[in-house]
């Protein structure tokens, strides 16, 4: 139950005494000399810019809206003032912040906007004083309270406990400046796009592949829903471009006139996301210099409108104007409605080549297919069985194992691959040689001991992809992961394989992969009974081991594979020694692990 628009957070705190202004604010002059940029201070800073009119003198004024209607000031946050500790949210505040619009330079200038310097009065001051910061969301009441707080908590880098959420502006209080700052950072970061989309849909002409966003701010649909689309703000523009990218990426014509655009940084995404754009209308905006066009010069524009931007006045003649524009858009045929003489181009532009089609398993040769598939099925049935000790048979004495995962900025304890995180050996991020060494498990005992500690899993071998690769689909109720595993193996008697190197890369599965997982039923694992050796067999075994130099396990395997024919086994062994070892990568996109 909410309308579209952006969540804007205003924060105000209450100052302990009369001089409640804590420093000037570097704001952009109304005539526009550059975008507003203000640094963040934890406990001090300028007050929010007042909407529209300026108020003289002190005294409380209505709380300023955070956004600015005429687009001059591109604030993206508001800095808190320090609450008087005596006036906390559980009582009436004794003073409101002054909403005076300060144009002076920070910390000085006339007009009484003197910086108060470090207003850390209450912060860490004596005796249990607390600073309260009041956050409010314009029109916050229209949002469902739980949705609102949850949305903020999801995006805010710090956890917070809002106190006393109420009112038309969904006001709530935060008792810590660091948290308050973290919240400020998310101002304007949450956008509900449905309202945007509907409005844009009305302004889209499918037959022309044209979207008209001229003066979008006053669009009656948006206004009636209190949706604020201010295209000269990054988040608005980004939201709009995202909607275009997701719904009408083939767009050919775009009209952005009358949107008070003063820079084109936020349009640069158009180059990659709307590559077919040929006509662009930027007229009646606030672009000051033709250098803004550099941000979008990747577009292959054929028609451009730029008139009624300040930049147009800075050219000494039409010819230089055209020339500068054409430098960015060599294919341009029409500028401000005037035809231009067609340019002479160089035919270097080639349609980019297509990629070769992606194919499934490449097994190299048919004869490898069965043993590899068999080996992998056997490997994973043990791996999933709950007891991974039998894997000792699959590994060479000197085997190594390591695992890696995609690098994530997320807190590891909150990451769903958390079980794997501490052992992830990503050399791009891990630089200490000792740690790098420690994370490489060496010798089969260590490898299998480590594997035994990894979460229980269930793999389901359905189809194999071999590059030599194998593709398995797993069936489980738990979280789905995807992985890529590389085995380097050597022959181990007959058609068995023995792993010498094992590297596992694990990541989260995509929703598409999860959806496609477990389509085919799992094969029933076959159990191979462990044979007991007769006395003559045991004798043959020791002799064979001595002669070949292999350990007992392998000797036994070799003999078994050759039906305990000593000479035959010996011959096979000799032959195997000269065979090349087998290398293949296992690209298994899905398995489930219980964690």
């Amino acid at each position: 139950p909410f309308c579209g628009g952006k969540l804007i957070l205003n924060g105000y705190s209450w100052l302990p005494n009369h001089d409640d202004r804590v420093g000037g604010q570097k704001v952009r002059n109304r005539k526009g000399r550059g975008p507003f940029r203000a640094p963040m201070y934890s406990d001090q800073g300028p007050r929010p810019r007042h909407r529209g009119s300026q108020r003289g003198g002190g005294g409380p004024g209505p709380r300023a809206r955070f956004d600015d209607e005429d687009g001059d000031v591109n604030l993206s946050f508001i800095l808190p003032h320090v609450f008087s500790p005596a006036s906390n949210p559980y009582g009436r505040p004794n003073r409101r912040g002054d909403d005076r619009f300060d144009r002076g330079r920070r910390g000085g200038g006339g007009g009484g906007h003197r910086g108060r310097g470090n207003n850390k009065g209450g912060d860490g001051g004596g005796g249990g004083r607390k600073n309260w910061f009041k956050m409010s969301v314009p029109y916050g009441k229209k949002y469902d309270k739980d949705w609102l707080i949850t949305a903020l908590q999801n995006i805010c880098s710090m956890p917070f406990t809002p106190v006393h959420v109420k009112g038309n502006r969904a006001e709530f209080f935060i008792d810590d400046s660091t948290t308050a700052n973290a919240l400020f950072k998310v101002s304007r970061k949450i956008t509900d796009k449905e309202g945007y989309k509907q409005c844009m849909a009305k302004r889209f002409d499918g037959s022309q592949q044209a979207l008209d966003l001229n003066n979008i701010r006053i669009d009656p649909d948006l206004v009636s829903q209190n949706i604020d689309v201010t295209l000269n703000r990054k988040n608005s523009m980004r939201a709009v471009i995202k909607i275009i990218e997701e719904n009408i990426p083939e767009l050919v014509c775009l009209n952005l006139s009358n949107n008070k655009l003063f820079r084109l940084d936020d349009l640069s995404e158009l180059v990659n996301k709307v590559p077919n754009l040929k006509t662009l209308n930027l007229s009646h905006n606030e672009l000051k210099t033709e250098r803004e066009l550099d941000r979008i010069k990747g577009l292959k524009l054929v028609e451009l409108w730029l008139e009624r931007n300040p930049l147009c006045d800075y050219f000494k003649d039409q010819a230089s104007y055209i020339s500068e524009v054409r430098e960015r858009f060599p294919r341009l045929l029409k500028l401000d409605g005037q035809d231009l003489p067609p340019p002479i181009v160089f035919d270097v532009e080639v349609t980019p080549a297509a990629l070769p089609p992606c194919k499934p398993s490449y097994f190299c040769s048919e004869e490898i297919k069965t043993p590899i598939v068999g080996f992998l099925q056997q490997y994973y049935s043990v791996y999933d069985s709950g007891d991974r000790q039998p894997l000792l048979d699959a590994y060479h004495d000197g085997a190594t194992f390591s695992l890696s995962m995609p690098f994530t900025m997320q807190n590891p304890s909150r990451c769903s691959l958390g079980d794997y995180h501490k052992d992830s050996r990503n050399l791009k991020k891990l630089k200490d040689p000792t740690t790098r060494f420690r994370l490489l498990k060496h010798t089969r005992l260590n490898v299998v001991a480590f594997l035994s500690e990894l979460p229980k899993t269930q793999h389901d071998t359905a189809s194999l992809i071999v590059d030599v690769n194998t593709f398995t689909v797993s069936k489980s109720r738990d979280s789905v992961r995807a992985f890529c595993r590389v085995f380097v193996t050597v022959p181990a008697g007959g058609t068995s394989l023995c792993i010498v190197n094992d590297e596992l890369f694990v990541r989260n599965a995509t929703t598409e992969e999860i959806r496609r997982a477990f389509v085919a039923p799992a094969p029933t694992p076959s159990s191979s009974p462990v044979p007991t050796l007769s006395a003559p067999q045991q004798e043959m075994l020791s002799a064979f081991s001595l002669k070949s130099g292999m350990n007992l396990e392998w000797s036994q395997k070799c003999l078994q594979d050759n039906e305990w024919d000593f000479n035959r086994a010996g011959q096979v062994f000799t032959d195997l020694k000269v065979n090349n070892s087998l290398f293949y990568s296992v690209n298994i996109p899905r398995f489930k692990s219980s964690s």
Binding site: C358, P360, S548
Partner: protein, 152 residues
């Protein structure tokens, strides 16, 4: 399959450690060179491969330097971003004594005309004597590349 434990760096701990450290450094250097070449000097890329090297690229097999050269030329220009790297020295038993490195990478790539995609890749690098220098050079013996969403 006899054991040469006393000479095998995989069994001798001090040598093994050195081996692992060196492998890490080589793999970092290799990935820098390889992806830089892939993005900026595509024509030179095939020189990093052994002549009998095999590439399996999303299930397409290519082998031999000439075919590799043609193949890389046929791909659109690329912008790779490597986010994960791991490597292991390959056990000599698999390589008949030739020093070999397993390098595993993952990240994102944008080919011209395509959307950005995640990929996994792994290489076997092998040290070869060089005709032009005293020092051995690393060459790619095998290369396996796949988009994570190859089937879409």
């Amino acid at each position: 399959m006899g054991s040469l434990a006393e000479f095998c760096p995989f069994c001798n701990t001090a040598d093994f450690r050195t081996h692992v450290d060196a492998s890490c450094r080589y793999s970092e250097e290799f990935t820098n060179i390889y992806y830089d070449c892939m993005d900026k000097k595509r024509r030179n890329l095939m020189r990093l491969y052994l002549d009998k090297a095999t590439l399996v690229w999303n299930g397409n097999a290519v082998s031999g330097q000439a075919a590799l050269g043609d193949f890389f030329e046929s791909l659109p220009s690329s912008e790779f971003s490597i986010q994960t790297l791991d490597c292991q020295p390959v056990h000599e038993q698999a390589t008949q004594g030739q020093t070999t490195l397993l390098v595993v990478t993952a990240g994102q790539v944008k080919f011209d005309g395509q959307k950005q995609r995640y990929f996994n890749q792994n290489f076997l690098l092998t040290a070869q004597a060089s005709p032009t220098s005293d020092q051995p050079v690393w060459k790619i013996a095998s290369d396996c590349f796949r988009f994570q969403d190859w089937s879409s």
